[in-house]
Assembly symmetry: C2
Homo-oligomer: 443 residues x 2
Amino acid sequence: MAGFECLPGFRDFYPEACAQRNFLFRVWTLAARRFGFQEYDIPTLEPLELLTEKSGPEIVEQLFHFTDKGGREVALRPELTPSLARMVGSQANSLKRPIKWFNIAENFRYEKPQKGRLRSHYQFNADVFGEPGEGADCEIIALCVETLLATGLGAKDFRLRLSDRSLWIDFLAALGHEGEAALGILGVIDKMERLPQEAVLEKLEPWFGDAREDFLAQVKTLVSIRELEGLKRFFGSIVSNAALRERLDARLESWERLLNDLDALGVSPWIHIDLGIVRGLAYYTGYVFEVFAIDGGGNYVGRALAGGGRYDHLVGRLGFPEMPAVGFGMGDVMLGQLLLERGKMPPLIDAPDCFLVVGGPAERSIALKAAQTLRAAGYRVEYPLKPVGFGKQFKLAGQSGARLALIFGEEERAAGTAKLRNLQSGEEQSVAMEQLLDAVAEA
Amino acid sequence: MAGFECLPGFRDFYPEACAQRNFLFRVWTLAARRFGFQEYDIPTLEPLELLTEKSGPEIVEQLFHFTDKGGREVALRPELTPSLARMVGSQANSLKRPIKWFNIAENFRYEKPQKGRLRSHYQFNADVFGEPGEGADCEIIALCVETLLATGLGAKDFRLRLSDRSLWIDFLAALGHEGEAALGILGVIDKMERLPQEAVLEKLEPWFGDAREDFLAQVKTLVSIRELEGLKRFFGSIVSNAALRERLDARLESWERLLNDLDALGVSPWIHIDLGIVRGLAYYTGYVFEVFAIDGGGNYVGRALAGGGRYDHLVGRLGFPEMPAVGFGMGDVMLGQLLLERGKMPPLIDAPDCFLVVGGPAERSIALKAAQTLRAAGYRVEYPLKPVGFGKQFKLAGQSGARLALIFGEEERAAGTAKLRNLQSGEEQSVAMEQLLDAVAEA
């Protein structure tokens, strides 16, 4: 019936799908806690202005937005970062730094639903505020890798492509392109992997004219570098003034410390230097990265599993004191698909510990008292909600997946006992009512 | 700055507030699981038609609703039940009954924010589908009480007021009022507690004319009954035809079984028979209940903590096969306030297990390896994200609330050890690197 289905791009989560989603939530939460991140949360609905201030008016195209009954321009959050920057910025003076926070929330975008991309998805976000050095980038990158490993993925399942907007900006500055021009050029680099060479050259023409082929050749050299030594050679050969040289040298030292620390944290095998990643959004200011699944041949498949980087100016741009920041987001859709494809999604095991088989009304009170006792002790207990014959109840007990059945018949009532049956082994024992909890614990 | 605050009636959850909210989520989840309920989830945004079909066009007044970019009339869900009925109804033939499901979700209403009532709140919902007998009502009511007890509330903190729309409908039928008239009268009864007697009498006039004072006297007698025997006497004295008499007698037997089972499940002390509760919504069809906090004098305080009842026709009304249903909702706002007022909200303890105190760059790699080892074993580990003097680090370790500090200095590096300090007792020991995990586990 029209109107009585989900909206396109939204999902009903039946118990199995819900358990799979919650498996991700649990892995995300536990990983963030091991790294010392605290959980926070933000509103689902936000003022439109907060979102356009971060991302520009173009973002409105992709939003679920409307005017509320009080005349406010509002939107369903498409991402977490602007709200997070508000929360941190408005308490900048009282929060102890570094601020290490994480969140799991639903985000909304009005776009054509397609494989790996829905109108609503859940995202894990972790961010560090208040620490400008690469130590914070390191912690964020290590958490991103460790989180994916905690899902059960391994060395051959994914790779984190590590890049640096700061090196790119300096490289373009050495070629005479700064400010808006540099951002425009990075916008082209961002699309390079998906466009034919001719189209890339045409887009570069306004800035490079006849030198566009030379520039593209340089870019191709840069994005093929996989070792720190290679980056050092590339940037060592760039003609630059003294200030720029000093900045480049300092940056390459930061790279060296970052890679050393990532190695010490055990995540090096997943880190691939890859300056081909520049992240489209203008607000990134330093290290940036994206994580992709890889196939058996080591090729990237599908959309990014996660992405993030440093964004040191966002808090200031919202009118709060400047505060350095670095973080990442990881969605549930691509990751869930990957885990299913690779057989890493754990099966839904959702069975009671104990199924109560209940005789007549006289036995029912005894059985229900037992249910309360067992539930109070933390056991998951089910019983038929209406009178059902014994045979049917044993069938229900079996279907429920319970390991134990507790049988309350006339005979047992007369003896002040219950019969405890192990539904796997078929073993049975009589248990006095006051021994029930111990017997179930030991069964 | 305008636009950079939360919308009115919405909340930013800083870590402490988030931990308090998550405490409720955890209690809710564990209680539902002990009772054998499975978790599901529904979309935040739904077709407007689904919501108006359940609640009538008046609901639109209270909704955040708009036309999406595809021309669809959509709304932020104000409650869960219509979506739940869709999910259950559309899989009615494949889901094993009874269907026992729970969910925790954010709901949205556009109304004036006030104490205990916001524009966004979180609600725990538990429902049983497919079982028409009072066994399902019993399970739902017991879960509602046990959930509140699991928060730490006790016998003197709340009461569940149990009523029955079906008895009301039969009572009104005996007086000659059925269908729309009966629903209209119940609408007045619903507001009786909050209105002056004059206003109530005026509202009853269209149906009862000069007999309105007699009717109101009868109603007052009915709503003052607190014992099953009283209900039996009251309904025994009602003049009715044979069919109605049979229905009333059967219903009072159902009441007897329900109260017996609630007693066996140990929740009787919280159950108060109170026909004054009729629940405004027309869709309830049988037992209904609301839970209120009580003060030291046993008086009800504030808005309901939870409420629910049986709604056997909703699934059918959405065009799916008829399916009996009973459930309840419990919000986070009133309950959170009550727990804070009564000192039952657990404090946020959010400290690392281990804080690493790190010497120079040579020690950093060793410390970070230790961090990885400990985190992989499930410990929560923090270390300074940038080089910091030893003295400052010990101060940070103390402030972090960590129980243990692991010290990686020059001396320790030379000896291949770390120093493990218990920050509570001040005790220290040297630990070989390969013994680290055991030493931390035993410390």
